[in-house]
């Protein structure tokens, strides 16, 4: 069994069809993307004892809120610390571990509901599930980059699009299962967790069984590597630990963090924001539709922008994200002031497509700058920027809005300052991207170090 999961057994023959790799990656990302849809369980979890309404002993919404927060924190931590392990043991073992952690996390959480012990849910979905999220997120990315040297952006875009799509499956699936299992004595969450845990485990295991790494001398049929080195695309490799000593790593960390902060700023508050900025014109149902539309653009942007980056170049793609994002963010208050709903929605949709695009293009940007050898591990460490942005984005929006409302600013105008701050963050991101240069000679691995996976 351990042989089957070994790195050596994962290497494909030369005739292996590389188009089998993206669905293997999608099988994992479509599952872990469920994390974005965890909020569908929040309200039912406050009625586990009372069923029809909250009983005094039921959990409060603030207690429930920690489950998702813990999962996101452990996503960042496991991606950061597990990245080096991934490089050592290969994608199959990492994906299988992610399947056990994510699926098992659901089952432990179901037990937590049964025994009404919140710490079991924190441990299950929050800690173990979060670690499954992090390992599952980074594990197929470097493999895809190695299989698609001619379309790095498109390949990673396909997988990371799956993470966005996972929420679109997870939300209606969770709701449907709760509805199915709802009874006079149960809100149906425990049963839904058991079913989802088993389903996600099976799907992720299928992904881990199908994943293969290309042979070291493999290249796509009919493709020859460019003879002349492209600007900002290295053919050499930087060691995972050495990458942390380069300014490029921290610039890319800031680029991801600022892009995600700006996107989350809208995504997390979209429903309330559009209802307050267009009071009387937008119903709660229409606002929910707005959130759905943004999710579609978030997912589509992951594939479209990362694929476009193969032709535009990674740095130019981020220039576009930051320049267009700054402009559109700063125009949102104007569109709101004019009552121009169509332009407001269109601008928000484009911003969210670039938010998703930023996530999907960053692994290819890392591979261009640091080489493909350790890109999975380096990507894992960079994802701490996501965890940081996950806290920073909502805090910025919520606290600035609250401060303004408390100081007499009308609710409809309370988002103006926040939106201008978000535009400024993107302008800072533009400068960070402008400062990106090739890695200094001293950081590259020497030829004889490259063969040993964790040498250096």
């Amino acid at each position: 069994m351990s042989g089957f999961f070994s790195k050596e057994r994962t290497t494909a023959g030369h005739a292996y069809n590389r188009w089998l790799i993206p669905p293997a990656a999608l099988a994992v990302h479509l599952c872990i993307g469920q994390a974005y849809a965890f909020s569908v369980f929040n309200e039912p979890l406050t009625r586990v004892i009372g069923v029809t309404q909250s009983a005094p002993d039921d959990w409060k919404l603030t207690t429930i809120g920690w489950i998702y927060s813990l999962a996101i924190v452990f996503l960042g931590l496991s991606a950061a610390f597990g990245g080096k392990w991934l490089e050592k043991v290969g994608p199959r073992r990492t994906m299988f571990t992610a399947a056990c952690l994510f699926g098992g996390g659901f089952l432990i959480s179901a037990l937590g509901i049964k025994l009404h012990q919140i710490w079991l849910i924190y441990l299950g979905y929050g800690v173990l599930g979060g670690c499954g999220l992090g390992l599952g997120y980074v594990s197929p990315v470097s493999t895809l980059i190695k299989w698609f040297p001619d379309h790095r952006g498109m390949a990673t875009g396909m997988a990371i699009m799956g993470f966005g799509g996972g929420a679109m499956i997870g939300a209606p699936l969770g709701v449907a299962l709760m509805k199915h299992f709802h009874s006079e004595t149960s809100v149906g969450v425990m049963e839904a967790f058991v079913v989802m845990g088993i389903l996600y485990f099976i799907s992720m295991v299928i992904g881990s069984v199908a994943i293969r790494t290309p042979a070291p001398d493999w290249k796509p049929h009919g493709w020859t590597p460019p003879v002349e080195a492209k600007k900002m695309v290295t053919k050499r490799h930087v060691h995972i630990d050495q990458a942390l000593k380069t300014p490029q790593f921290y610039l890319l960390w800031l680029i991801l963090c600022l892009n995600v902060t700006a996107g989350i700023g809208i995504l997390g508050q979209a429903s309330v924001m559009i209802q307050e900025m267009f009071k009387g014109s937008i119903t709660p149902e229409a606002a929910a539709g707005f959130v759905g539309l943004l999710s579609l653009f978030n997912m589509g942007g992951r594939f479209v922008w990362s694929s476009a980056s193969d032709y535009m170049g990674r740095q130019n793609t981020y220039f576009l994200f930051f320049a267009l994002g700054t402009f559109l963010y700063s125009m949102l208050p104007t569109f709101s002031g004019e009552g121009n709903i169509v332009m407001f929605i269109a601008a928000a949709a484009v911003i969210l497509s670039m938010y998703g695009g930023g996530f999907a293009t960053i692994p290819a940007y890392l591979a261009d700058i640091f080489g493909t050898k350790f890109v999975g591990g380096i990507h894992g460490r960079l994802l701490t920027a996501w965890s940081t942005a996950g806290v920073l984005g909502p805090v910025l929006v919520n606290y600035i809005r609250e401060y303004q409302v408390n100081h007499g600013v009308a609710k409809a105008d309370a988002y103006t300052t926040t939106l201008y701050i978000m535009a400024s963050l993107l302008a800072v991101g533009f400068v960070c991207n402008l400062l990106m240069k090739e890695v200094h000679e001293q950081h590259y691995m020497k030829h004889d170090e490259v063969d040993d996976p964790l040498q250096g």
């Binding site: 089998l20 669905p23 479509l30 679109m168 229409a286 539709g289 759905g292 579609l296």
Partner: protein, 41 residues
């Protein structure tokens, strides 16, 4: 002959595997699209 069969098997596997991930994704996208339509009603 054997090589042709192997290629055909690979093709079937490829189609099935893509269908396995794209069908649930398509269902999720459709559900979200239906929800998004409320914005234009």
């Amino acid at each position: 002959m054997e090589e042709k069969e192997t290629t055909e098997n690979h093709l079937v596997l490829l189609v099935l595997f893509w269908a396995y991930v794209l069908i649930p994704l398509g269902w999720g996208v459709f559900q979200t699209f239906k929800k998004a339509m409320a914005l234009f009603q």
